[in-house]
């Protein structure tokens, strides 16, 4: 696979899977404001994934939907940080903070890329991510002395750069995420 498509897929998979994980808080977050916040962040992340898949799809001669939904779970290149189902609020916030910090560094590198398409898309994504970072850092400030939160940060930190394998949680998410698409012949429109 071309190096550019490989890089784009890695980021797109992170954003798609994280978007799904964030959407799991819709309706059940501990505060109404956080129902809205995590739903909105999820929508943004899935929008970023779509734009990244579209660019990768052009390089690979396929479509964004096929890249997002027609690969096997083991083919996803996302970080282990995003594949876990984290039904505890402090672990979700820890992931949010770790992800946004790592993503900010990645976007800075991509914005400096000599590839204008990659640099331009990264700059666009970064404008939206700025609000995710504000939200993550606001929660970090609120929870930073909480032992449960600190333990979650330590537990999850090593997962940020792990992309060689996945937890069984990702397969379960994949089953759910692709079930409608797999239930019908390819190309079905609704």
């Amino acid at each position: 696979m071309q190096a550019r498509a490989e890089l784009l897929l890695e980021i797109a998979d992170d954003e798609l899977i994280l978007g799904w994980r964030d959407s799991e808080w819709t309706g059940v977050a501990p505060l109404l404001e956080e129902d809205v916040a995590f739903s909105s962040i999820a929508q943004n992340e899935i929008g970023h994934a779509r734009a990244l898949y579209e660019l990768a799809a052009r390089d690979l001669g396929t479509s964004a939907d096929e890249l997002a939904f027609d690969r096997r779970p083991e083919e996803y290149r996302c970080s282990e940080l995003v594949d876990r189902r984290l039904p505890e609020w402090e672990r979700t916030i820890a992931r949010h903070v770790l992800y946004e910090r790592a993503d900010a560094e990645r976007l800075e590198r991509l914005k400096a890329s000599e590839d204008d398409e990659v640099a331009g898309l990264a700059a666009k994504i970064d404008r939206e991510e700025a609000y995710h970072r504000l939200h993550a850092e606001m929660w970090h400030e609120r929870l930073k002395e909480e032992p449960r939160y600190r333990a979650a940060l330590e537990e999850l930190r090593p997962l940020v750069d792990r992309r060689d394998g996945h937890s069984p949680d990702l397969t379960a998410l994949w089953e759910e995420m692709t079930s409608v698409r797999r239930s019908q012949p390819a190309g079905t429109t609704w």
Binding site: E33, V36, A37, S39, S40, I41, Q43, N44, E45, I46, G47, H48, R50, A51, E54, L55, D116, E117, G120, L121, A123, K124, I125, D126, R127, E128, A130, Y131, L134, H135, E137, M138
Partner: protein, 160 residues
Amino acid sequence: MTEAEVWKALAGVPDPEIPVISVVDLGVVRAVRVEDGHVHVEFTPTFLGCPALEAMRSQMAERIAELGAEPEVEVVLDDSWSTDRITPEGREKLRRAGFAPPTPRSPEGPQLVQLQANGFRCPYCGSRETTLENIFGPTPCRSLRYCRDCRQPFEQFKTI
């Protein structure tokens, strides 16, 4: 057909989520080119996850087709759109509809301390005694604020 005619037609395409404002007011039409019966439009999305994008794109294509030309709407995925591109008319239309228009973009991007400070004007009474309720709102492009003077919650356009 002239480019001016195309711009005029596109000025009649509303944002599907905030129909008081058109795609031209929003500043998402970056360029229009007319060549041999083909109309090429460069369209820059607002927020990448905005579900209105597809609707805007197809409505622009429909309006151009109604002019008797072949539409080509190219989606440009770079950072050339910012809320600074919303026209002065567009900002006024937003305010009248109860949405506080975005503040000008600063080079360092949004800062929490600024969002939490006063300075954001209530679209109903004009007071600056407003507080941040939530960075996120009903759509990706909006935050929620509350006016202490007229006691009205309102939606503030995010600056991006």
